[in-house]
Amino acid sequence: MTTVDKPTAPLVVGRDRPVRRELGVANTLSHGFLLLWGLLTVLPLLWMFISSFKTNGEILADPWGLPGALHLDNWARAWTSAHIGRYFLNSLVVVAGSVSLTMLMGATAAYVFARYEFRGRQVVYYLFVGGLMFPVFLALVPLFFVVRNVGLFNTWLGLILVYAAYSLPFTVFFLTAFFRTLPTSVAEAALVDGCGHFRLFFRVMLPMARPGLISVAIFNFLSHWNQFLLPQVLLQGDESKWMLAQGLFALSVSQGYAGDYARLFAGLSIAVLPVLAVYVAFQRQVQAGLTAGQLK
């Protein structure tokens, strides 16, 4: 422990008042700073939402103003003419696949690491967890060829497998720790009662591990949904297969020529809404999952 350098002053009751006044000022001050950063965080997002309802003319003439009327046609244009709707659904399909696969493989592997003794267990476990420390960009170039050589370049299946593979280190790391915390007595009782190993896992252990599984699934959902680098490298061809992030990037580039700012803001809003919805609904799990999993 550190020592406090000032000598301890005896607490005098009469001193209470000025102290309180000083603290009042400090409270206002701290609220001021907190509020300022809150505004700084929210303002760009709010601006994006508001601008998505304005006409291009309004955006150009008065960036800070409110829309004269709610121009929902911007959203319609982004959804259809900029194909954000299609990219959105593409992302949904791929992320549904990759999160399911990640969870299935991550949970089964973690369960084995946590619950079974066998030779070489440590080695395989560290092989997985070691992946947490390596930056993705180093693998980028060879990964491109690995995926191309097995005929998965420009396919969703390729993306799903790659997302899952790169999410395994964190998923296994987190879930192994989680399975270890579950009581062994339940498992032993089930085995004594003649329950098989597979049934034990699916009927007893998985339901018990639900809170941990949910945290990791949300974490994986966010990171797969927000993925940009992997699709950019592995899904270069056919535009109709693109992920949302790629579509937004293309929209931003084309916006430079078309000058359709409202459509860009609407496209961005469409991409932000589901993520914010998931976040607000699962706040606590998201914050816990992300603070535990930032090692990515």
Binding site: K6, L11, F33, T41, A139, L168
Partner: protein, 302 residues
Amino acid sequence: MKHGKWPLIGTFLVPPVLLYVFFVVSPYLQAFQISTTDWLGYSAEANPVGLANFKTLWHDDYVWNALKNNVILLALVPVLTIVLGLFFATMLAMGGRKGSAGVTGVRGGALYRTVYFFPQVLSVVIIALLWKEVYHPNQGLLTSALHGLGLSAPTWLGDPATAFWCVLAVMVWSNVGFYVVLFGAAMSAVPREIYEAVLLDGASRFTTLRRVTLPLLWDTVQVAWVYLAIFALDGFILVQLMTNGGPNFSTDVIGVRMYDTAFGSETKFGYASAIGVVMFFLTLSVAVLSLRIGRRERIEYA
């Protein structure tokens, strides 16, 4: 748990191991090998050239320029983010000290934390594209605000003098909220009596932060430092989408160099892998160094 465990271990472990080795382990290993060839990717020929790529790298001014930018980011982004994160986390945890009533969290703390965390859940792509519009030289949020106040505004991302700082600001902006939550969680583990004792001793907020909170949170701060250092050495997506390294290479970072070398007009995969390998060792040494330098005695709450 002895009978029949092998079928389960086999079915549960083999598929994930295969997937992982094939898509993760093998590319990493190949990267090192490719970095010693002159491979141009799409051609079949790849001649071993030893360390020639690394020699070229050493004399490559573009790489040095990008590295210089990464070093500036490395020096500034972690410090700014951690200081702001600690500051806001302290405010939230102890902003509401009420004289002799003790130390309490500020009102609406949960709401602040929720809002601050927003950028963390958003895709980097969205952050980059949104801020690109915020910095827009005509109808961007910033420019029009300055114009509204009767001031002139720089061209932000269009000017080599300001572009780099604009990108840096976005990096800090997008990270602070996460560290407020991280530090806040660490602070809630500190026994409240410590703060109350300090308060009774008449220590100011700043003294409290510097002499009590910071030492108690040292482990967490160190972890934050490593995360942020890795982030600052990467910075790839944000830069690529906001400025693509320009104008005039003022915002270039090594990640962008590598990506352009591999997937740009020339597909110099061998050379790009060499840049990747250098980045890998840089990241690793920064992580190890910051863990070493920051090592202190562990504090345990009795």
